[in-house]
Symmetry: C2
Subunit: 415 residues, 2 copies
DNA sequence: TTCATTCGTTCGGCCAGCGAACGTATTCGG
DNA sequence: CCGAATACGTTCGCTGGCCGAACGAATGAA
């Protein structure tokens, strides 16, 4: 609210661009919807809405759905919906023990989803890019059979990303440092002529929760994404909070015990050492290394084995989860006090393990933020599977298309 | 970047409003500046700038400064500056051991500054409001002699604030809970007919740093405001980050030791117990209670006494600062990893104590964020005095006026 | 069938930014 | 000392885009 939000002048062209995005966004949120309803909802007049809808129809971003609106009096309106064919977003994910690709259409329906297990820890980035490129090609081909064209791509990685250059500066769990992922993928991803974003996996997983999970009603929340590493995606006012360099939400290396064991990051006593996937498995008496190649959070993976023991009421496993929940809750309390979210969402393996972990998590979280604020944060469990990040990445891409339809209009006069 | 930034339609009126704010902001940042320079800087054409400047002159937000631009060829332009008389913002501050009031003009020049010591801990809020009202009245009167009129007011308090209702929900160090401060002040502040905002003191102190301290070049930073309590103000992209309920940045009650002593907030082992003003004084062998009534950070106050001992190389005092810096650095490391600022600014008493505290602070901070990010945050020392929050509050008010000049135009047709 | 009602389109008006041309003020060079 | 060059600020006609009112179209109810 301080200072003009952008420092660019507003001219009739920009005015139109924003109103077009406004209308398109309203269609996305409330489809099917008629022109008259759009006018009421956006605050624009019917005439303006009609003109804008005409453009969107022309660009095939929106289609008329002949059916009429039931019930009321008077002439029925023609319903508008986002195009189910045409443009779509491609989301990719590199993680320690799997790769994923998915395609999401403008209406944020997931149309293609591929996951492929495999141990990428320490593997040559070029080799990983090669595999990911093949997976992406398969996803794009599958999307093409449904009439979908990829408009842009986003890759999620578990590490710190320089978004300007598309470089992974540090991904300790992959043992990647300074990997120019966008350039590596440029040659291999079929939609290479389209923009390729690189993002942190926890960030896009949080957005995945917003769009594909139970987060539709949420506006301000933190999504804790537990895998081999632990990241937090911070969403404020429906917008991702990235910090100055896009590195915000690095929860896994919060110091819990300054005198604790050394961590791969170089620090000591990091949260990951207490409740990262491997720490939990080890504490529960499972061998994380042997099981690493079979995929995070899948029923046949190491977490699946852990769930089996938990369901069998294995005492050591139950104790491990109890302890992990407590550590996680303590770290989350600090997070809540600094970032002030409305809700804390447990995602990744924590969603799978929530039945055994959430009680101690809640207790530690609430103990850490006593009385000082009016309402303690709500706690929610993510409903998304292991490819949350890939879907969030794809959704990020389609969200960008909805927010900037001006770039997609075919009218050559606008170039 | 995701979703339309606002969900209101843009019409010619809004276009004008934003361009007017753009021009006014450019005047504020670059005064003195001519119309032609404004056109170049904003991207608007000379004709549009002229029309807008005409409006701003009419509203007496901007004045022509007859002097010409020196040196270059061609006809000189007429310089424009923000009006030094006319509208101004009133900033007030309630803190544990003092009250402050200040008036800031549109150019963010501090025109009136009053500070009044006194122990407000546990004092009846109505009595404090009465005192603050008198201080405010004196400030407004002093401003009036300089031709200034108060357009709006902002009160800073060391606690959690519900900004919607202007209520202090929890201020442990004042022992205030659920105090309807805006209503209490409504009757007493002379500018009562103008809007009154209530804000957290650490938040506005951070903004004070931006506007009145060395922070002019900063865009993304965290300002750690040490007084009796400890708060962090988070600024991202030049904008204050408030979180979902305006409670973000609550650093003082970060848990350092889950098994530590109980804190007033109800938790245990909070940061404030390690490096709040009273903890430091006590560790240094001074009696915080006896000295509490004499004002934070002033040469004659308890911190002044501490500085005396430090300058005399008192071993106990030096050790206390060393330890406090370490604790603060550890907490700041978590903050940096979660919020990802560019710079960490030490403010409040930490600015005064920086010579004895910053080394251990830096060491602990950097130890806590090793290798994992490209560049560690810079560390800066605030140059503002104890009334940073009051000045930031006043600046917040004037910033609002600059960002929404439309509300200040006298043209009755716009009402 | 007729009327009320709502939908979507069309048309004139207006706001506001743009670009070009113009008058003006100043410096420079002859 | 005076014209040429340069830059500033204003004026004027044009255009993009939103608005409001009026109108034809489609439907249900009487």
């Amino acid at each position: 609210m301080v200072g003009p939000s952008g420092d660019l002048p507003l001219r009739p062209r920009e005015m139109r661009d924003r109103n077009r995005a406004l209308v398109l966004d309203a269609v996305a949120r409330h489809e099917p919807i008629t022109r008259a309803q759009l006018a009421a909802r956006t605050g624009l007049t019917k005439s303006s809405v009609s003109a804008i809808v005409g453009e969107l129809l022309g660009a095939h971003l929106v289609v008329e759905q002949g059916t009429r609106r039931g019930g009321d009096l008077g002439r029925p309106g023609t319903e508008l919906v986002l195009a189910r064919d045409g443009l779509a977003g491609l989301g990719l994910e590199v993680n320690v023990d799997y790769l994923a690709a998915c395609v999401v259409d403008l209406a944020r329906r997931s149309r293609v989803q591929f996951v492929e297990g495999g141990d990428n820890r320490g593997r040559d980035p070029a080799a990983v890019a090669e595999l990911l490129g093949r997976l992406a090609a398969a996803a794009v081909a599958a999307a093409a059979t449904q009439g979908l064209t990829i408009g842009a791509t986003c890759v999620a990685v578990p590490g710190l990303v320089d978004q300007g250059t598309g470089t992974v500066s540090h991904a300790p769990n992959l043992e990647w440092h300074g990997v120019a992922l966008r350039r590596l993928l440029g040659d291999r991803v079929p939609a290479a002529h389209t923009p390729v974003l690189v993002e942190n996996d926890a960030n896009v997983a949080a957005l995945g929760e917003l769009w594909f999970g139970g987060g539709a009603a949420l506006r301000d929340y933190v999504h804790i994404s537990g895998k081999v590493g632990i990241g937090a995606g911070i969403v404020v006012g429906g917008q991702l909070f990235r910090g100055a360099h896009g590195h915000a939400g690095e929860l896994g290396h919060t110091t819990l015990d300054p005198d604790g064991d050394p961590c791969m990051c170089g620090g000591r006593g990091c949260l990951e050492l207490f409740c990262g996937q491997e720490a939990i498995l080890r504490a529960a008496g499972l061998d994380p290394a042997a099981a690493a190649a079979t995929g995070t959070g899948r029923a046949d993976g190491p977490v699946g084995a852990l769930v089996g023991r938990l369901e069998a009421r294995d005492a050591r496993a139950l104790a491990a989860l109890e302890a992990a929940g407590g550590s996680l809750g303590t770290a989350a309390a600090s997070l809540v006090k600094l970032v002030d979210p409305d809700t804390v969402v447990l995602g990744g393996i924590y969603a799978v393990l929530a039945p055994w972990l959430s009680a101690s998590f809640r207790r530690a979280l609430l103990e850490g933020i006593p009385m000082t604020r009016a309402a303690p944060p709500r706690i929610a469990i993510s409903t998304l599977g292991p490819d949350a990040a890939a879907r969030g990445a794809a959704g990020l891409v389609t969200a960008g298309m909805l927010a900037h339809p001006d770039a997609l209009l075919s009218d050559p006069a606008r170039a």
